[in-house]
């Protein structure tokens, strides 16, 4: 390693920064603070051409240190952040926002609210327009805090209502919070983005005051407007809303269809499959099979009894009716190379049998149909089940033996 004996301001600060970073990575907060004190003078020499200048670096590093340092306190943090706010006007709102987040994370909701309100009233020439996005976020989060206030008031009212008290002032405050919250939340969700929490809260407000149309419109926009980034949660919220309000099966299914396309492993796929199986339309029932197979492609579903029982039920039904075996064939073609090792190994057979008899039952049924009676999984489980004299396993064994030729047709 060649040790340079030259040194200039820029180089020494670069080196200093690397010491700070090392200390932080090793969680040596005192050491990081120590080196930061030597880095700080670079504020007097703002490298305005660089991507990230000293003031931003100091803000971020200082924040990190103050979050973790054992001798740090909220007071220290606040003092520091206030200094940072005056440091760079271009970053003012961002610092305010992060300050508010930090206060919230520490449970200081009132302080956070004050901060956000203060930031909302900030004006600085053309900067105000440039930092429009941050401003919207600040307003949105303030709106969110208004929502929480509203929620608290609502609960108080409900309690009092139960006790028979009427509380006019609380009610008034509650409505005022609602208005404040609604205005800001509505604004932010107009902008394309991921606003799960804002949407949920806004919808909650609308539902309470009975504005179902608006709520539905908001949810539809959030889910279907192509300008918004693809967000599975949007569809989940929509589905839940529709379900709450007893909407038609058709609309429920279309909401879930998109969810299946985006996140085939979503937990709502069980519901989806169940609803589809009940449908009179053939296409829907085929889709059901598709959906449940797709869900079980994912490791998170491997030991889910419900999922396997859905699949088993449908497979059984198809086999008995002897119609639409081609559906199974279609799903199985792309899976027959890897599902056996993934789901139906001998090891899994043993484990499933030991840990969850029901699970092994459902899986054994599927395995028996798809892989035949001689497959490892089925043989082991059915043998164990019969040995243990569990009735359904005997029935299962007979069923699979009877329909063994099916496997040959499926596996082609």
């Amino acid at each position: 390693s060649s040790h340079e004996h030259k040194l200039n301001f820029k180089k020494s600060k670069e080196v200093c920064l690397s010491y700070i970073q090392d200390a932080m990575l090793q969680k040596q907060w005192k050491r990081a603070a120590e080196f930061l004190t030597f880095y700080i003078e670079s504020l007097e020499k703002d490298f305005s051409t660089e991507y990230m200048g000293p003031s931003e670096i100091i803000w971020r590093i200082g924040t990190e240190i103050l979050c973790h340092h054992p001798h740090s306190s909220m007071k220290e943090f606040n003092f520091f952040t206030e200094q940072m706010k005056t440091l760079g006007v271009k970053r003012y709102l961002k610092v305010c926002l992060e300050h508010a987040f930090h206060l919230l994370c520490n449970g200081l909701t009132d302080e956070a609210y004050q901060n956000l309100s203060l930031a909302e009233s900030w004006r600085f020439g053309e900067q105000t327009a440039i930092q429009d996005k941050e401003m919207k976020l600040i307003q949105a989060y303030r709106g969110l805090l208004d929502y929480y206030s509203w929620s608290k008031q609502k609960n108080i009212l409900l309690e009092h209502g139960q006790d028979g008290f009427e509380d006019f002032s609380v009610e008034q405050e509650m409505h005022s919070c609602f208005r404040k919250a609604a205005v800001n939340l509505k604004e932010i969700i107009k902008i394309p983005g991921v606003w799960d929490i804002f949407v949920k809260c806004y919808v909650d407000l609308l539902e309470f005051y009975g504005d179902h149309n608006e709520a539905l419109q908001v949810l539809n926009e959030y889910a279907y407007n192509s300008k918004f980034p693809a967000n599975p949660n949007a569809h989940v919220y929509l589905y839940q809303f529709l379900k709450r309000h007893g909407e038609s099966k058709k609309s429920l299914l279309s909401a879930l269809k998109i969810l299946h396309d985006i996140v085939p492993s979503h937990e709502l796929m069980i519901d989806f499959n169940t609803m589809l199986q009940k449908s009179k339309k053939r296409k829907k029932r085929q889709l059901a099979l598709e959906v449940i197979f797709a869900a079980l492609d994912y490791a998170s579903w491997k030991e889910n009894v419900k999922a396997w029982s859905c699949l088993a039920k449908q497979v059984k039904q198809i086999v008995i009716s002897e119609k639409h075996l081609d559906w199974i064939k279609q799903e199985w073609t792309s899976r027959k190379d890897w599902w056996p090792a993934f789901h139906f190994s001998r090891y899994l057979a043993k484990r499933n049998w030991q840990e969850n008899e029901r699970l092994s039952y459902e899986k054994a049924l599927v395995a028996g149909i798809l892989l035949g009676k001689d497959c490892k999984y089925f043989k082991y489980v059915s043998h164990q089940g019969c040995k243990a004299q569990v009735k359904r396993f005997r029935i299962l064994k007979r069923f699979v033996n009877k329909h063994n030729p099916v496997y040959l047709r499926i596996s082609g």
Binding site: S12, E34, T37, F38, E44, D46, Q83
Partner: protein
């Protein structure tokens, strides 16, 4: 010097002059109110000299400060540096006689003072920029930014422009762009032929004076003291009197934000000596500190090597005639003689001696060490034999520790001081606010640093590593004997090692590529690199500089053999 009154306080007659031109008593430092009008009868006096000698008594704009010229600033810097050197033990002659005279000679040669028509005459038209008539008559009036971007390597200072440039369009009618009268002129004209004064050059002046006096301070020592803060160099404007306002372009001239570089200071010193038409410097004889025999002794001690090696270094020095006064003494302007870097030379001699005795090919030195270890077992009387392995372990450990400390110091180096800089009066409040914030933040995080106190300036010491023979852990090798690696031949002790490898077969042409040799760590044995690294640390210079010097010495030493042109560039039989 014709003031003969007795001092009111101590009754002595021992007067000196302050900056302000007042008499002060050297014995008790009592400052009088009596000032002195200087009329230098040697030269034709003009307003310039009076300004310098009178000091800063002209106060035309009382709230803004006074007029001052750039060279006055440098004069002040040199004075402060000389005082600091005096505090370090350098003889007083340096400040009052030598440096002073060098400086005056410089001013004379560069036509800034003590001469008929100083170049500064044209200054007035440019620098006082609040009259519009001047503007009309100077079409190529440079903009503030243009001046800032000129030549000098202080590129970092450009970024201070962000305080000045982004909003300010320096309009023609704004007030002066520098606190000094001739700041803009100073930067503008290409004064290479006149050797324009810079901050690094102040160190060249100092070194030149030290060399003239043959003081026991090498250039690497001097530069190390600068970096350690014992000699004013960074933020030297703190020492300027209140009235001497620094702003704008003065910053570019007087503010340094990089460590002085050995090569640069040395080269400038040579240029300076030639420029000033100095005669041959006082001889460096073998009783001088800078003589290789002396310096080798010092470095051997510092490197924790046996004293007995000194015999060998002296032998090498004698053999290649680098101990001669004619070789060692500086003769300015003489391009035929190679100029001597005393510290590098001494270090290189030691490296060569180590190669002679231990070969340092990553193989032999360890074998030899084992051999010495064996012999040590039977060695009952006298001191222990020197074992390379043991020495290596001790030194490596210390070196790593010290290097790590040095690296951390580099990371912790502070460049700014309490007195803030600003380009223009307009930016003053912003700069002051920033400074206040910096101080606040430093305090806040300083408290969170734990028990670490800001390190006091270490006491200046000429030795960076020290070893004591009183240590019972055997970590001091000064008294160790080389007998373990020597053998008797014809009644003389010679090295057991019969071989030698040259660092390079052929020296490069310095004029073409700037170096005599090219050092790459991977091309050489690790032991060799280790030794270079050790001296590189002590001298605070790149290993390649020492390597260059080693090559030169080797070529002198093995001159005869080289002329025979051996086929392979590795081993040589001695």
């Amino acid at each position: 010097r014709d003031f003969n009154e007795r001092c009111a306080q101590c009754s002595e007659v021992n007067w000196g002059l302050t900056d302000g031109g007042r008499f002060y008593c050297r014995s008790c430092h009592n400052v009088t109110e009596i000032t002195r009008e200087v009329v230098n009868t040697d030269f034709i006096s003009n307003a310039r000299i009076q300004t310098i000698s009178k000091g800063l008594r002209k106060q035309e704009k009382t709230d803004e400060g006074c007029e001052w010229y750039v060279c006055e600033g440098f004069q002040l810097v040199l004075k402060k540096q000389a005082e600091a050197l005096e505090a370090l033990g350098v003889c007083r002659q340096m400040k009052d006689d030598i440096l002073c005279n060098f400086w005056r000679r410089y001013l004379q040669k560069s036509k800034q003072a003590y001469c008929n028509r100083p170049a500064a005459e044209t200054v007035k038209a440019l620098s006082v920029c609040d009259s519009s008539t001047d503007v009309d008559s100077e079409p190529e009036r440079p903009s503030l930014l243009h001046l800032l971007s000129l030549s000098e390597s202080e590129g970092d200072l450009q970024t201070d422009c962000s305080f000045a440039s982004s909003t300010s369009k320096v309009s023609e009618s704004t007030s002066v762009c520098s606190g000094s009268v001739d700041g803009s002129l100073y930067l503008m004209k290409n004064q290479k032929e006149k050797l324009r004064m810079t901050m690094p050059m102040t160190l060249s002046f100092c070194y030149m004076a030290l060399l003239w006096l043959r003081e026991p301070m090498t250039l690497s020592d001097l530069l190390r003291f600068v970096v350690e803060g014992h000699i004013p160099y960074f933020n030297v404007f703190q020492h300027f009197p209140e009235k001497m306002k620094l702003c704008g372009l003065d910053l570019k001239i007087f503010c340094v934000e990089s460590w002085p570089v050995y090569e640069e200071v040395y080269k400038k010193m040579l240029e300076l000596a030639a420029f000033l038409d100095l005669p041959r410097f006082p001889d460096i004889t073998d009783s001088c500190f800078l003589h290789p025999d002396m310096l080798c002794m010092k470095y051997l001690m510092e490197a924790n090597l046996p004293d007995e090696l000194h015999n060998w270094t002296c032998r090498v020095v004698k053999k290649i005639c680098i101990g001669e006064a004619d070789f060692l003494t500086l003769v300015p302007g003489n391009k035929s003689t190679r100029n001597v870097k005393y510290d590098v030379l001494a270090a290189a001699v030691i490296v060569v001696v180590l190669k002679l005795l231990f070969l340092l090919d990553d193989h032999y030195e360890w074998l030899l060490s084992d051999f010495a270890e064996e012999r040590n077992k039977n060695n009952k009387e006298g001191g222990p034999y020197f074992e390379f392995k043991k020495w290596y372990k001790v030194i490596k450990c210390s070196l790593d520790v010290e290097q790590k400390k040095l690296d951390e110091e580099r990371a912790k180096y502070l460049w700014r001081c309490e007195k803030p800089l600003f380009y223009s009066a307009k930016k003053k409040s912003k700069v002051l606010k920033r400074r206040q914030m910096v101080v606040n933040l430093q305090n806040q995080f300083g408290k969170l640093s734990g028990s670490v106190q800001p390190a006091e300036k270490p006491n200046p010491s000429s030795f960076q590593l020290s070893w004591s023979e009183e240590n019972t852990d055997g970590s001091c090798f000064h008294g160790h004997s080389l007998k373990g690696i020597l053998q008797e031949k014809c009644g003389l002790l010679t090295a057991m090692n019969p071989d030698y490898w040259l660092c390079t077969v052929k020296l490069c042409n310095e004029k073409l590529c700037g170096h005599l040799a090219h050092y790459r760590e991977v091309d050489f044995p690790q032991s060799y690199h280790f030794v270079l690294r050790l001296f590189s640390f002590l001298l605070r210079i790149q290993p390649s500089y020492i390597h260059d010097e080693v090559c030169v010495i080797e070529h002198k030493l093995f001159n005869k053999k080289l002329c025979k042109k051996p086929k392979y560039n590795t081993c040589l039989r001695k």
